[in-house]
């Protein structure tokens, strides 16, 4: 299967302090792909590179099979994009904005736009500038969905919105995906929301990709272990050691957080004279926090 977005060895620099380094991303066609990272980690910059709005220093970006930014004029018509900040003319009405947008997209779906106006309870006669934050977000989603793209790129689409609006927006996105089989690339730091809908997750920090994996693999491969009698040096473990610290109260026990874990790997510890007393499941948020912590500690040690 082809990737809807494929990025190889991407480098980008903005000023002295921010750079994207060695970025590789693979967004499978048809995936709902969650792009996680703290503020300032490079999510929005990556999205702008994917859309061909910025030019990389080096590396390759392919979107829907075509190279970016060279072909961005051809590709943008097939991408529904919702930026972090709405950028529409505040003096136009909802209806005027929809008609304006429709004129640019040959695949524009009038029926869907009409259905979403109703579903989102938007009033066509209202001025954009007078809409609430939630209504603005809904209109942005309406515009992105009605252009019938094969790829949706959403930059924090539900950030700062109330739960009812978030729910309406997510339901509309899911309905769209079940009807059209489109690919969704969605950046957010609302981890629980992504945990529900995404089947792929990537985590970014400080301009670098920390991990990219199918959701189930990431969730079920990240565990907290209580380990007894572990030697100080661990050689070639079959899993990834993210963090390791002595358990509260000292003794021989240690808390480990590991990645790429599979059932049965406890036997590795027996082989080195240690034992695992407990294997504790982590949810996506806990796993995300541990991944970031391990990444940052690894950097400061270097």
């Amino acid at each position: 299967m082809n990737d809807a977005i494929h990025i190889e060895r991407l480098h980008y620099r903005a000023g002295k302090n921010f750079a994207i380094k060695e970025l590789d991303l693979h967004v499978p066609t048809g995936a709902i792909y969650g792009f996680l990272g703290p503020n300032g980690s490079g999510k929005t910059t990556t999205i702008r590179l994917i859309l061909g709005l910025l030019r990389p220093l080096s590396g390759r970006i392919t979107v829907l099979g075509l190279p970016m930014p060279e072909q961005h004029a051809r590709i943008l018509g097939q991408i529904g994009y919702v930026p972090e900040q709405p950028h529409l003319d505040t003096t136009l009405t909802v209806r005027e904005l929809i008609d304006f947008q429709a004129a640019f997209y040959p695949r524009w779906d009038r029926a869907r736009a009409a259905e979403l106006i109703k579903r989102f309870e938007l009033d066509g006669e209202h001025l954009f500038g007078r809409l609430s934050k939630g209504q603005k977000a809904k209109l942005m989603i309406l515009l992105a969905l009605s252009q019938c793209g094969d790829l949706l790129v959403l930059d924090e689409p539900t950030d700062g919105l109330d739960p009812v609006v978030r729910r309406d927006i997510l339901s509309a996105l899911i309905t769209y995906v079940s009807e059209r089989g489109a690919t969704i690339f969605i950046s957010s730091h609302l981890v629980h929301e992504l945990e529900r809908v995404c089947d792929w997750i990537a985590v970014m920090d400080d301009g670098r990709l920390i991990t990219e994996a199918p959701m189930e693999k990431l969730k079920h491969g990240t565990k907290r272990l209580v380990v007894m009698g572990a030697p100080a040096e661990i050689v070639n473990p079959p899993f990834r050691v993210l963090t390791r610290e002595s358990a509260n109260g000292g003794g021989a026990g240690e808390n480990w957080v590991v990645g790429d874990w599979e059932p049965g790997m406890t036997s590795y510890f027996e082989g080195v004279g240690a034992s695992v007393r407990e294997v504790i499941d982590l949810d996506l948020e806990e796993g995300f926090v541990e991944l970031l912590r391990s990444f940052r500690e690894g950097r400061s040690r270097r």
Binding site: G30, I32, R167, L170, S171, A172, I174, T175, V177, S178, E179, H192, E195, R196, V197, C198, D199, E216, K219, H220, D281, D283, L284, E285
Partner: protein, 126 residues
């Protein structure tokens, strides 16, 4: 039927959904030939990936509980006599196992658990 589906649980969502449907079939909430919600409808309602719902329905089909008729929907199959009852006792075993695991984790002894169970049952029947 799908109330309380928990995306944070270590049990994958498709497994949770399939379990709920199996329980509904076992208890008769879903009778023979009853339709399951469409993939699109259930995914939008639970705000989960449509692929997750498809996976759950496929698993249910492989286990013989439902039949996926393309273009028409997913329907509960006629079950062999005794299968509902068997499925219910399996559900009961699963519930007890979960209770025992929870008790062990929170340090409640078996004797205490048994006493609490008897008290509760007594309170229900009187």
């Amino acid at each position: 039927m799908f109330h309380g589906i928990d995306p944070r649980s270590p049990i994958p969502l498709y497994v949770q959904i399939a379990e709920r449907v199996r329980l509904a079939i076992a208890t008769g909430t879903l009778g023979s030939a009853a339709p399951l919600p469409s993939v699109r409808q259930l995914a939008a309602e639970l705000r989960i990936n449509p692929a997750t719902v498809i996976q759950a329905y496929k698993d249910l089909e492989a286990q013989g509980f439902v039949e996926i008729r393309h273009g028409a929907g997913t329907f509960v199959r006629e079950l062999a006599p005794g299968r509902r009852a068997r499925e219910r006792s399996q559900q009961a075993v699963a519930l007890v196992r979960k209770l025992l695991a929870d008790a062990r984790r929170s340090g409640v002894s078996l004797a205490e658990l048994q006493r609490a169970l008897e008290t509760e049952l007594g309170a229900r029947t009187t």
